[in-house]
């Protein structure tokens, strides 16, 4: 446990979370959300939860991104609200 590394990762995590809900372009939001999942997987692995990190990397950064992109390509790309 290196606290500087953890602190930097948490900072990136918060930045990614805020950016994912404020950005207008939904495709950008999906990509930022994939980056969020990747940082979260690194954090899980750093907290010795390898199984959870595996699931986060496979489902959060892999499958969900593909499904979100499929949904964005079928609906609008701009957020209305």
């Amino acid at each position: 446990m290196i606290w500087e590394f953890n602190f930097a990762m948490f900072l990136f995590l918060v930045i990614c979370a805020i950016a994912a809900i404020t950005v207008r372009n939904l495709l950008s939001a999906v990509v930022i959300f994939a980056a969020y999942s990747l940082i979260m997987a690194v954090l899980w692995a750093e907290m010795n939860a390898v199984d959870v990190a595996f699931t986060e990397a496979a489902v959060g950064a892999g499958i969900t991104t593909v499904l979100f992109i499929a949904v964005v390509s079928r609906t609008t790309r701009r957020s209305k609200d």
Partner: protein, 142 residues
Amino acid sequence: MKEDVVIRTVTRMIVPFIQLFGLYVILHGASSAGGGFQGGVIFASAFILYGIAFGITEARKRIYEKITTVAASLGVYIFAGIGLLAILFGGNFLGYSALPLPLPGPEIRGLMAEFVEIGIGITVMAVMTSIFYDMASKEEVE
């Protein structure tokens, strides 16, 4: 993008390795990191990659939607079947050591845990592929 030879060639080369890695994760789930769910997701991502590179219609020719429906039920049946088999021989649900196999107890437990993981993997793979088909196909299917 459909004519891009690089994407098609790389996809054709990398899909067997993704599937092999998925099987590895499923079968080593009990002893190390991984398990049926993660392995099934990795196995399904191979089909999803194929569908992205070659188009949905081409992917539907490789793994039919009927097969995904049957496989999604088959995995649940494997899981519940092994659990109920243990009840039938007088144990608890999924109490593997009650099964009358000519092996010591820990080996029976390991073997049956692998079968349960395989069932979970089949279901997750089929459901993920089916969700991808439903999300990505343009035409309306009743």
